[in-house]
């Protein structure tokens, strides 16, 4: 009874925040992608013209391809390394807590700051070869991968540690008694049982890599010649950098949303199926 009475009191603030900060801008954004405008209040309807322009824009397609490559590489490296670290740090080694803290730390630093820090580090190293990170798009690509790994590994590691610690030891003991070697234990016992963690980690890394913006802006800003610009940065540049292209930027953002939504739902559905009951 009490719950029903107080229901609006507790829900209302969040609901308001959700409507103001998410629902309204989202609908407005969707509407604006079909219009031409300078500021968001003087829009004129142009139909799907913006979508046509977005898809015939080379920058957008390049950014899309670059983002896909980046996501594939970083999702694999982040999850493999994070999982390896997590299994190491659940073995009860000395100094485990210290290491967990150290690995988690980078995640507490903001993206822009991280971007600049890594720009300094990478340029510092490349200085010996008289070049900088913007010399070749490959440098920017691997710079971004390193940066992303450094930032996300700690976070994913914590999730994996929680998952691994939840596995009842009797299952592992049983597999040992059955004569399974380490690899077999990992494949047939550990991984199926940490599947919920894998689901969430994959989801987080895929969406985070796809939506990467601050780090991209701070590290390379797309240089050289926009070859290292990812989707979010390309959208930002289209919207703010080009007069008369605001609507196209908006259309790109809608396309971007659809892509991210499809990929992450597909991934969720696929990994969910593999989760097992203990």
């Amino acid at each position: 009874m009490a719950l029903k009475k107080y229901f609006p009191v507790f829900v209302l603030p969040t609901l308001l925040a959700f409507i103001i900060a998410f629902a309204v801008p989202f609908i407005l954004g969707l509407f604006l992608s079909f219009t031409e405008f300078t500021t968001v209040v003087d829009a004129q309807w142009v139909g799907i013209a913006n979508y046509v322009r977005a898809f015939s824009n080379d920058d957008f397609l390049n950014a899309l391809w670059f983002t896909v490559k980046f996501t594939v590489v970083s999702v694999i490296t982040i999850n493999v390394i994070a999982f390896a670290l997590a299994s190491l740090l659940t073995k009860g080694l000395k100094g485990t807590n210290l290491f967990r803290t150290v690995f988690f730390m980078p995640n507490l630093i903001g993206g822009i700051v991280l971007g600049y820090i890594w720009q300094l580090i990478i340029n510092g190293v490349l200085q010996f070869f008289d070049v900088t990170i913007t010399y070749d798009p490959k440098y920017g690509f691997w710079g971004l991968v390193i940066l992303m790994n450094w930032q996300l590994i700690g976070y994913m590691m914590v999730i994996y540690i929680a998952g691994i610690q939840n596995i009842p030891t009797d299952l592992q003991d049983a597999s040992k008694v059955d004569g399974a070697n380490r690899w077999q234990t990992l494949r047939n016992v550990t991984i199926p049982l940490v599947m919920p963690s894998i689901t969430i980690c994959l989801f987080l890394t895929i969406t985070n890599s796809f939506k990467l913006f601050d780090q991209n802006l701070a590290l390379t800003a797309g240089a050289p010649s926009k070859q290292t610009a990812m989707l979010a940065l390309d959208i930002y540049n289209t919207f703010y950098g080009r007069i008369g292209w605001e609507g196209v930027g908006q259309a790109k953002a809608v396309i971007f949303f659809v892509i991210v939504a499809i990929i992450s739902f597909a991934q969720l559905a696929m990994t969910r199926k593999r989760e097992v009951e203990q």
Binding site: T38, D130, V131, T132, A221, A223, P224, Y240, G241, I243
Partner: protein
């Protein structure tokens, strides 16, 4: 315990909700609402604090509120775009010339009947068309190659110098400049410099000295060939540029690169601030920039450049008749009034600007604090800024030389400048050759004009 915690959390929620509801409005006297208020979106970060001072002073004198917001370097368009959509939109904003006007035409009030427009010494400087006057320039600026005369004198005193001239002011062509610069590079140890030119800043957002200022010179000469009128207008009408003087641009650009304090490969990490600091610390003898850079030079800690040693050279490119070439003089700072603001606010905004550029107090700020060379007839001969770069500009304006117009005001778009800058970067890093730069310049110009 749980109860206390719950109470505490409720209090936090209540406070934060209240904070959200509170209007962040520093308008203590509601009476002024009737008289209108001013919201000035400032373009020049280097003088942000001075505008705050001016606003406070104006409030003290007239009681009208002036809110000054400054957009961070290179984010003016972004800030303006989001600010102007608000209910509390800027009443005074800035456009960067005829190209900026086309983007903001729906927001620019006609200023032809204002006193501010009548103050203009040269009415042709304003952004206008048959419908009215929409942008009023408030500062005249100039750029060229700034040099440190102390280092130059040290060089000309050398016994084994390879040139026959004996003063930096005798340089009047690219040939002479290049000879001096190359020879200085050979003697850089004796001169105590890392390079003749400060770093050619190529990091993202820091390429404007080349993509706008330097490129303005060859475009000026190209436009001059076809017409006698304003090159700014003919640049605006040009849809298919030839970039005839591309080799001249390349010569100067190469001179900057080959005699630089920094190796080519590392230039993409350098900013304008880096370059100005190198100059201020005496590590470089020359740097291409405008008179607004004085603030930057004088504020560098450990600055060794004396005010009386700072001089200007025109950007010589080896184009015929350049002995008579002067600095590039113009402006990209035009004030516009927001058409959609309330009538009171518009009136208050114009009154504020007129006060700033015609009252004694206002003019004092403009001349001595903002260091603007104002293009208004309200300023007397002796009411000009005293900083060395502005002085030099005034000197050059009075010389019998041909000062170049800022044709880059009419460059097609920001996108064009970025494409061009990206191509330059690839040229600097050696991954593309010069023909790629030329091609990008022509193609991007053409496609951005469509």
């Amino acid at each position: 315990m749980k109860k206390i915690l719950a109470l505490f959390l409720c209090a936090v929620l209540a406070v934060s909700l209240a904070a959200c509801g509170k209007k962040d409005d520093n308008n203590p006297s509601p009476n002024n609402a009737k008289a209108g208020s001013v919201y000035f979106l400032n373009f020049k970060p280097e003088v942000a604090d001075i505008y705050k001072e001016i606003a406070a002073k104006y409030k003290e004198e007239t009681g009208v509120d002036v809110k000054v917001v400054t957009a961070a370097s290179n984010t003016y368009e972004t800030t303006l775009k989001s600010e102007i959509a608000k209910t509390d939109a800027p009443t005074i904003f800035q456009i960067n010339g005829p190209v900026g006007y086309t983007a903001w035409a729906n927001y620019c009030e006609d200023l032809s009947d204002t006193k501010l427009y009548s103050y203009l010494t040269d009415k042709d400087l304003a952004v206008k068309n048959e419908k009215g006057v929409f942008g009023i320039p408030y500062v005249v600026e100039g750029y060229g190659i700034i040099y440190n005369n102390a280092i130059m004198e040290k060089y000309f005193a050398l016994k084994d110098k390879a040139v026959s001239i004996s003063k930096a002011s005798e340089i009047n062509s690219f040939e002479k400049l290049n000879a001096v610069v190359t020879d200085m590079t050979k003697h850089k140890k004796e001169l105590g410099i890392d390079g003749v030119f400060a770093s050619t800043s190529m990091s993202s957002g820091e390429q404007w000295r080349w993509t706008t200022h330097l490129a303005s010179v060859p475009v000026y000469y190209e436009m001059k060939e076809d017409s006698d009128g304003s090159t700014i207008v003919s640049t605006l009408e040009e849809n298919d540029i030839d970039f005839d003087y591309s080799q001249n641009f390349k010569k100067v650009f190469d001179m900057y690169l080959n005699n630089s304090t920094t190796q080519k490969g590392l230039l993409s990490s350098k900013s304008v601030d880096n370059a100005m600091a190198e100059f201020a610390l005496g590590k470089a003898a020359m740097v291409q920039n405008g008179n607004w850079a004085w603030e930057q030079i004088s504020n560098v800690g450990g600055n060794v450049v004396k005010a009386e040693d700072i001089k200007y050279l025109p950007i010589y490119m080896g184009i015929e008749g350049e002995e008579k070439q002067g600095l590039c003089i113009g402006t990209e700072n035009y004030l516009a009034i927001n058409k959609n603001a309330s009538a009171e606010d518009k009136k208050a905004s114009i009154a504020f600007l007129e006060w700033l550029f015609s009252s004694e107090t206002g003019k004092d700020y403009v001349v001595n604090k903002l260091n603007f060379i104002a293009p208004f007839n309200t300023f007397k001969e002796d009411e000009m800024p005293s900083d060395p770069l502005a002085r030099e500009i005034l000197n050059w304006m009075n010389k019998d030389v041909n000062n170049l117009e800022w044709t880059f005001n009419s460059f097609p778009s920001q996108q064009f400048k970025e494409d061009f800058g990206n191509a330059l970067l690839e040229y600097v890093q050696g991954s593309k050759d010069w023909s790629h730069v030329e091609k990008t310049f022509r193609n991007s110009w053409k496609s951005e004009r469509q």
